[in-house]
Amino acid sequence: MSVADNAKDPDLKGLSKTAAQLPQSGIRKFFEIASQMQNVISLGVGEPDFATPWTAREAAIYSIEKGQTTYTSNLGLIELRRELAKLIRRRYAVEYNPDGEILITTGVAQGLDLAARALLDIGDEVLIPEPCFVSYKPCVSLAGGVPVAVETNSSSNFQVATRALDDLVTPRTKAILIGHPSNPTGAVFEKETLMKIVDFACRHGLYIISDEIYDRLTYDGTHTMVAALPRAFERTITLNGFSKTYAMTGWRIGYACAPPEILNTMMKIHSYTMLSAPTPGQKAALDAVRRAEKDALAMAQEYRRRRNIIVNGCNSIGLDCALPGGSFYAFPSIRSSGLSSEQFAERLLYEEQVAVVPGGVFGLGGEGHVRMSYATDGELIKKALERMKRFVDNLSSSDVGMTAKAAR
C-alpha cells in the first residue's frame, strides 16, 4: 500500500452519529490495565468460573460429529422451546406456547437488542432503573430510542420507587427495562416493587422488558417472574438464557418469551439479522435443561457460600456491604475510603493487584460502590479480601487517604 493510498479522503463521510455517540464501556479500560498485569486476582469477571456441565458439552460434540451443523428454524429448535415452556410452567406457572411465544436468541444480549427494536420508534423513551447492566442503554439508543435513567440507591436496597417513575414518565415513554436479580448490585426486586412497576406500566400503557438471566441465582427466597404477575403477561418480554445458570456464556444461547404479536415481531427482525441462534449451542442447551439440573443447583449453592464469605469479608474490612439476594455480585460501598469508585478500583489494581469494577460505570446510584464478582474460586476470594484489607488499612493510615477524606 502506498502512502498516498493511506491518506484520508477528506470527502469520505463520517460513521453513524448514533454509534459514534455511544460511550466506550467503562469496563474496557480496566480490562486493558488488568490484562497487562501479573498476579492479578480478578473479581471483575461477569461470567461463571465453572466450565459448562460435561453432559452439555458432550451433547454438542455428538451433534457436531453427526453433522448437525445447519441452521435451525428461526424460532430455534422446537425441542428446546418445548423444554423451556415446561420449565417455565413448572417454576413459575406461566404458560408460553413453544410455537410462537418463545424465541431462542443468541444470548440475552441479542434478546435485548430484539426487544428494543421490536418496541421502539425513533425518539421513544425507555425507563431504565440504574445501576444496571452496561448493555441496556446502548441497546435502546441503537434502536433509535432514548434511554431515561431512573436512579436507585443502596439506602433503599436498590428498589425502584414509583414516585421516581412518575416523575420521569412522558407521553413518549414506551417501555420500562429492568434486570433482576441485578448485575451489578445483586439486588432482588421485592414482589411489591415488581407489582408497583406492573401497575405503573398498566397506568401508562407501557411494555416491560424483564431481563431475568439470574433468576436461578436467587439465594434467599424465590424469584418472582414479572410475567406471572396479574396484568403483566400481555405487556412483558421476558429475557433469560443459559449463560449464568448453566455456565454457558461462550455458547451464546438465550431465549425471549412474549405474547404472539410481540414475539413474532422480534422473530421477524431475528430472521433477517441472525437467522437462527448457533446450532451446536442449542444442542448443548437442550441437553443442559434436560440433564444438568443437578449441576445448576450445585453451582448456585457454591455461589451462595462464596457470597456469604465475600459479604462478611467486606464488612469486616470496613466496606459496608448489604447481603445481595441474587446474581453473583457484591456491591459494597467504598465511601469510607474517601476515594471515587474509579480511583479506588484503579489504585486497588495497581497497589494490590485485585481487579474490581468501579460502580460508576453502571450508571446513576453506582458511584461510591465497586462491583465484586464472586464467580471466583473461594480461596482466591479470601486472598483478594486479604489484599483489600491491606489496601484499605494503608489508605486510612496514609496522608493521601486522609486528605481525600478531608476534602470531602
Binding site: F31, A34, V40, V45, D49, A51, R305, N308
Partner: protein
C-alpha cells in the same frame, strides 16, 4: 444445628476437608462455635470417618501397584458375606472393599509397593481363605479421575480478566 446444615457441612468437607470452621460458618450462616460442635458430633457419630488427601503418586515419582480384585465367595450360614469380607478388609493392603452385584461378590482395591508383593498378597492371603472360590485381578494402568478430581487435565481460567 439442623440436618440440612449438617449435610451442607458434610458436602463442603467432602469437597475440601481443609475448609476451616470459620469459613464454613461464614458460608452457611452459622456461628463458628456451632460449626465446630457440629463437626465434632459428626465425627463422634462416625458419620465423618476420616480426612485424607488425594495424591497423584505418579507425579510424586513414587511407584505403587494398584489392583482391583474381584472375589467370588461361598457365603457362610448366618454371617453371609460379612465375615469373609471383614477378614479381607482388615489387611492394610486393602484400601477399599465393597460387596457388589454382578459376576463376583466382593470387589476390593489393593495397593502394594511391587508387583510381587501384590501378587503374593492375593495368592497367599486372599485366595486361600476358606469360602473364597475364585479371584480375578486387574491391574491399574493409569488414573484419570479420583475423588472427583481429574488427574490429567489442567483447566486454566480462560476468562477475560474484566468483563460486563
Amino acid at each position: 444445628m439442623n440436618t440440612e446444615k449438617s449435610r451442607e457441612i458434610l458436602q463442603i468437607l467432602q469437597h475440601d476437608s481443609r475448609t476451616t470452621a470459620e469459613s464454613i460458618a461464614s458460608m452457611i450462616g452459622e456461628s463458628v462455635q456451632d460449626v465446630k460442635a457440629g463437626i465434632e458430633r459428626l465425627e463422634n457419630d462416625g458419620i465423618i470417618k476420616h480426612y485424607s488427601t488425594t495424591v497423584d503418586w505418579e507425579k510424586a515419582g513414587v511407584d505403587k501397584i494398584v489392583a482391583f480384585v474381584d472375589i467370588t465367595v461361598v457365603p457362610a450360614r448366618e454371617v453371609g458375606f460379612d465375615a469373609i469380607a471383614m477378614r479381607i478388609a482388615r489387611h492394610p493392603e486393602v484400601r477399599s472393599a465393597w460387596l457388589v452385584s454382578g459376576g463376583c461378590d466382593l470387589s476390593i482395591m489393593v495397593e502394594a509397593a511391587t508387583l510381587k508383593d501384590l501378587a503374593n498378597f492375593v495368592a497367599e492371603k486372599i485366595a486361600t481363605i476358606d469360602g473364597v472360590s475364585g479371584t480375578n485381578t486387574q491391574f491399574l494402568l493409569r488414573k484419570y479421575k479420583e475423588d472427583n478430581v481429574l488427574f490429567h487435565e489442567l483447566e486454566p481460567d480462560n476468562r477475560l480478566v474484566v468483563s460486563p
